[in-house]
């Protein structure tokens, strides 16, 4: 075949592929907007549903989704960001310092023991004593294990310690990557089994929020980690050379400069948390509720779940409300993302390299 022709055909093919991507989004959004825009009105946004979702509005579902997203972010962002800080900045240190733990247990055991033996006039406290002897035994065992090791020069031991740290770091990375691949229904089951039943949280906003927080954690961690790693080493060095501690360096330089990247993770999380249905349907979302959630332990209505139920279990008379819900959900996600993007750009401008 003519080379030029082949070139042109290939380009056409690539362009078609790209077009399909664009068309999907345009058709999707367009369809929702065209069908939903007529439904939206002030009363649709501020009223409770009536007559089996054929009249009234979707106010409780909007509020429920907003509550849910806020709670998810409150839970997931700090945990995610500080995990990322640990992975990048502290992972060369052990998660639990055995030597320190041993010393601490010794101190506690000695104090408990002293307090029980000194207080001989007072009635004995068997429970405390048991704790102290258990602690001491554990401490001694840790000691024994340490002295059972052959005494070797400091260097190989250090390397051994480092190897175990590296292993932990590797495990942590693998865990984070794999968490992102777990299907959302599995998270839902986890939330149901662990939070709703085992921790007695019941069907509640908080159970759903924690479940969704698990779900978005990998997004927050990955985005934060990349942002934190992108802060040049020279900046950390400069700060440390001025006498700042590691934490002061992280707080006043590393984290502020990473905010744009962290916000990218937040944007992804919001979209994900707002749209997920499976985890919340197992942990706290209900079809119809005539009041707003009164506390985080109350059940709630949410847009994606309402949409799912209306589309699968209600008559065609609810069609307008389905489109309306879809459009509101879409606008809400876009709106929240817009806020995050504006904040991100502000910080990008503030810290220009």
């Amino acid at each position: 075949m003519d080379r030029m022709l082949k070139e042109k055909l290939l380009f056409l093919f690539f362009r078609l592929c790209a077009l399909i991507v664009v068309a999907t989004l345009v058709i999707l959004v367009g369809y929702v907007v065209i069908n939903g825009i007529g439904v939206i009105s002030w009363s649709f946004l501020t009223e409770f549903p009536r007559n089996g979702f054929t009249a009234g509005g979707i106010f409780p579902a909007i509020v429920g989704t907003l509550y849910l997203i806020s709670l998810v972010l409150v839970i997931a962002v700090p945990i995610g960001v500080f995990t990322a800080v640990y992975v990048v900045e502290y992972a060369d240190q052990p998660l639990i310092d055995l030597v320190r733990l041993r010393a601490w247990m010794h101190r506690v055991a000695v104090r408990l023991h002293l307090s029980t033996s000194a207080a001989s006039t007072r009635p004995p406290k068997p429970k405390k004593h048991r704790v102290s002897s258990w602690m001491r035994r554990a401490a001694v065992r840790l000691h024994l294990r340490k002295s059972a090791e052959p005494t070797h020069p400091p260097k190989p031991k250090k390397q051994q310690k480092r190897a175990s740290q590296r292993l932990f770091y590797r495990i942590l990375r693998i865990v984070i990557t794999n968490l992102a691949g777990v299907p959302s229904i599995v998270y839902g089951l986890l939330g149901f089994g662990m939070l709703v039943i085992f921790f007695h949280l019941g069907y509640s906003l908080i159970a759903s929020a924690i479940t969704l927080a698990f779900l978005v954690l990998p997004l927050v961690i990955t985005a934060s980690r990349e942002a934190i790693e992108a802060v040049p080493y020279s900046v950390r060095e400069a700060s440390m050379a001025l006498g700042a501690t590691k934490w002061q360096t992280i707080r006043s330089h590393v984290l502020p400069y990473s905010i744009p990247g962290i916000l990218t993770g937040v944007i992804l999380s919001v979209s994900r948390a707002a749209g997920e249905t499976a985890p919340i349907l197992l942990t706290g979302a209900i079809v119809l509720k005539q009041t707003l959630p009164s506390s985080i332990f109350d059940t709630f209505m949410a847009l994606p779940y309402q949409l799912f139920v209306l589309a699968t279990q209600y008559s065609d008379a609810t069609r307008p409300m389905q489109y309306g819900s879809a459009l509101v959900l879409l606008l809400m996600v876009v709106g929240l993302n817009l806020i995050a993007i504006i904040i991100r750009n502000k910080y990008r401008k503030k810290y220009r390299w």
Partner: protein, 266 residues
């Protein structure tokens, strides 16, 4: 508090690599001491020992005594933060924070606060925070001391990255001076700068030695000859020769030094 440094039996390992071997060296106050040598000879490693910057490199082990005013700063019990506050450092590439010029300098003083006048040296580090005016004065003083004030006084709130490379490096010097150290360490401060900016930094170094102990690592021998009072020559982790700059460059005692100075090696 005079800022003299006395290094004895200093050894540094990076894992199994013996980077500095039994270095013994005395650095006097109010002098510029230059460290020269070919790449990888340990000169940067050496200067980073002087303010414990090697601590932040995980696989590095430093042994030996480094006495500053008679106190061993390499002691594990020594407060690293305090060491770095007393011993400032300027790096190879200018590394200002991506903040305003004012913020760059105000950062460290705000962090450390000011020593209470009533607290003696022995008592705990009682520190008071600066007032806004004191910070402003300190910023101005530091910038003047680093010969940058006239160039930046009208744009203190602009990002430090709007400055030229040479100005950025002087900003980094001002930033280090704002902590009021006794000793200033320079790790190849001019290697990323053009000759005019280099000349300005060199003038500044000579000016700084009136008040500080200055140690400078350089791979530019002419620079060492121009500014340093004493020069140390390192080769493969060994301190080969240390003496008056004039003597090192005109009558080196060691054959290795002579070879390096005359450009037959390194």
């Amino acid at each position: 508090m005079d800022g003299s440094i006395s290094v004895s039996n200093l050894n540094v390992w990076f894992e199994t690599n013996h980077a500095l071997k039994d270095v013994n060296l005395n650095i006097n106050r109010n002098e510029i001491t230059a460290i020269i040598g070919p790449s990888g000879c340990g000169k940067s490693t050496f200067i980073r020992c002087l303010n414990r910057m090697n601590d932040i490199i995980p696989k590095c082990r430093v042994e030996g005594r480094i006495e500053v005013d008679g106190e061993d700063i390499n002691d594990k019990k020594m407060d690293v933060v305090e060491v770095r506050r007393r011993i400032g450092m300027v790096f190879q590439k200018p590394n200002p924070f991506p903040k305003s010029i004012h913020e760059n300098i105000a950062y460290a003083p705000r962090l450390h606060g000011r020593e209470e006048a009533s607290t003696g040296k022995g008592s705990g580090p009682k520190r008071k925070s600066f007032t806004k005016q004191e910070i402003d004065e300190l910023v101005e003083w530091s910038l003047k001391r680093a010969a940058l004030w006239d160039e930046v006084k009208d744009r203190m709130n602009k990002s430090a990255y709007t400055l030229s490379g040479g100005q950025q490096q002087r900003l980094c010097i001002a930033r280090a001076l704002a902590v009021k150290p006794e000793i200033m360490l320079f790790d190849e401060p001019c290697s990323a700068l053009d000759p005019i900016a280099t000349a300005k930094i060199e003038d500044l170094l000579v000016d700084l030695k009136k008040d500080y102990t200055v140690v400078i690592v350089t791979h530019n021998m002419q620079q060492a000859a121009r500014v340093a009072d004493r020069t140390a020559f390192f080769y493969l982790g060994d301190l080969i020769e240390f003496g008056e700059t004039k003597q090192i460059f005109e009558k080196p005692l060691q054959k290795l030094t002579e070879q390096y100075i005359t450009g037959r090696m390194g």
